[in-house]
């Protein structure tokens, strides 16, 4: 793998770009055997493979992807990164990720454009203020930056914010995580793919897993794919919206439901929006990409679906919320609107860990907010697969919690989504 740098960019500019080579190897089919197989080449799966190779010395790894790498939720999300979660378990997990984000471009030698421009969560009601302050104080105790801002302070940080008295839901204040922000979603997948590939990981695209094999003892022994069978004693399923479908191949029924989630962008405009703003009461969030597009999202459609196509009413509700908060954007125009499939658990927290099937691991249930966790998720999941035991950070996120009742219910605790 050739090192990326400004100097090399200059050199290639002079010699007609002829020296650039492929970012990752693209084997046509998987080898017959690996030490570990990852199902799903999204950000989380690729990160898992990278850390397996980099930190645990397990380099005989295949990442099997039924489509093109990074083509699922990794390439369809609104790229928000933050760690100001309420529960200690969640905050630890997401902050682990934020710390990795902060050095990720250099770690991968791939500019993932992590941009900590601040994530601001608006409070519109007295109850919102209580919930936001509870977050702020819990985060501060845990050493996670999160500050309470008065309306005027919030507007100073985000000048497009309006404080008109005539708004249906006035802004009563905001919680701001300055270390939060955005990153370039595709680059995250490509950067991990390139770095993992360089360490020997095989990334096989257009290779769908069609069966999960178990030996006489019930333990995992491999997978069947559309490009041949693969034997492996460790299989990690990182298939996001399709988790239930893949896990069913191993005979495991999951506490997961898959919902359509839509997002949209505007036409690009000159910089007009400095940070990420989220409102749970009004149900929308917005930021501006480096290209200039306003990137906007909201909640899921109401029913489970794998269609990657939601209703028009979801987009209209999202935009009426954005226009209510930012009426100066009414004349802006929606350029693209798309849908993804998100896997949602009963407590809206992910499942990262072992399964009842020896050798089968699962990392799923990120709902609408998995992108922000990508590096941390891959890091602890690689640990779990390498040691057959969870990392302390993902130990609370075991599948078993749905039996014991030890839920990590951010949504119920705070009515905060994403």
């Amino acid at each position: 793998m050739k090192h990326f740098s400004a100097a090399r960019l200059l050199r290639e500019a002079v010699r007609g770009q002829s020296g650039w080579t492929e970012h990752w190897r693209s084997p046509d089919r998987p080898a017959p055997a690996y030490d570990a197989v990852i199902v799903g080449a999204g950000g989380h799966g690729l990160a898992t493979a990278y850390y397996l190779a980099k930190q645990h010395g397990i380099t005989r790894v295949a990442v099997l992807e039924k489509g093109w790498l990074g083509g699922g939720n990794t390439g369809r999300n609104t790229t928000i990164i933050r760690s100001n979660y309420l529960m200690a378990e969640s905050a630890a997990l997401y902050d682990h990720a934020v710390k990795l984000w902060e050095g990720l471009s250099r770690e991968l030698n791939y500019n993932v454009m992590f941009s900590p421009r601040g994530v601001m969560m608006l409070a519109h009601t007295v109850h919102d203020v209580q919930v936001a302050k509870r977050h702020v104080y819990a985060n501060q105790l845990a050493g996670i930056d999160n500050d309470w801002l008065s309306p005027a302070q919030a507007q100073a940080y985000c000048p497009p914010l309006r404080l008109d008295a005539g708004m249906r839901y006035p802004v009563l204040g905001a919680a701001l995580q300055r270390r939060g922000g955005t990153a370039r979603h595709d680059a995250v997948a490509w950067g991990y793919a390139r770095a993992a590939s360089a360490l020997g990981v095989d990334i096989v695209q257009n290779c769908e897993v069609t069966g999960i094999r178990r030996d006489a003892s019930g333990a995992i022994c491999g997978v069947d794919t559309t490009r041949g069978a693969v034997s492996a004693r460790r299989v990690g399923v990182v298939a996001a919206g399709h988790t239930s479908v893949v896990m069913a191949q191993a005979g495991v029924r999951m506490p997961i439901e898959s919902y359509p989630l839509q997002a949209l962008v505007s036409e690009p405009v000159k910089p007009c929006f400095p940070c990420v703003v989220m409102s749970n009461t009004i149900h929308a969030y917005i930021s501006q990409s480096d290209k200039g597009e306003l990137v906007i999202g909201a909640g899921t459609d109401a029913y489970t679906s794998y269609s990657q196509q939601g209703g028009l009413h979801i987009a209209t509700h999202t935009l009426d919320a954005i226009c209510e908060l930012f009426p100066q954007f009414r004349r802006m125009r929606m350029l693209r609107n798309w849908g993804g499939i998100v896997d949602v658990t009963p407590d809206r927290s992910p499942i990262i860990g072992k399964t009842p099937v020896p050798g089968l691991y699962v990392n799923c249930g990120w709902g609408t907010g998995g992108f922000k966790a990508t590096p941390g998720s891959g890091h602890v999941f690689a640990h779990t697969m390498a040691h057959d035991a969870p990392h302390p950070i993902n130990a609370p996120f075991a599948l078993d919690r749905f039996r014991t009742g030890q839920l990590i219910d951010e949504a119920a605790a705070a009515a905060v989504a994403h």
Partner: protein, 113 residues
């Protein structure tokens, strides 16, 4: 906005309905008799198939009735709908179709044994 066949009122727009999750998960008659695994399964395990899915809807802003429907979650097309408390009609592809995960009895529970 989907068009949803209410078995009582006919085809109506999604805005009038509330989705209510997978169908045919009857509440156990004696919850106390279930162990934690089984109770956890009742509460949380869902087949979530990519394909035909028997599910519950309520025509909240219509006749108010809960009912069941079979919908293909890949195309979002409704195949049939029927009154709550009635069995999934014969002839609708069952959850054992190739697209769908296996039924509950032959699956593992998630709890560590």
């Amino acid at each position: 906005m989907l068009l949803i066949p209410c078995p009582i009122c006919g085809i109506r727009p999604e805005a009038e309905f509330t989705y209510a999750g997978e169908a045919h998960i009857a509440r156990p008659a004696e919850p106390a008799s279930l162990d934690d695994h089984a109770w956890g399964e009742f509460l949380y395990a869902r087949t979530n198939p990519k394909g035909d899915h028997a599910e519950r809807w309520r025509h909240t802003h219509g006749c108010g009735r809960f009912f069941n429907a079979v919908r293909n979650t890949h195309t979002d097309r409704f195949i049939t709908s029927y009154l709550a408390g009635t069995a999934r009609p014969h002839g609708t592809p069952s959850a054992a179709s190739p697209d769908a995960p296996a039924m509950r009895n032959d699956t593992e529970q998630w709890g560590q044994a």
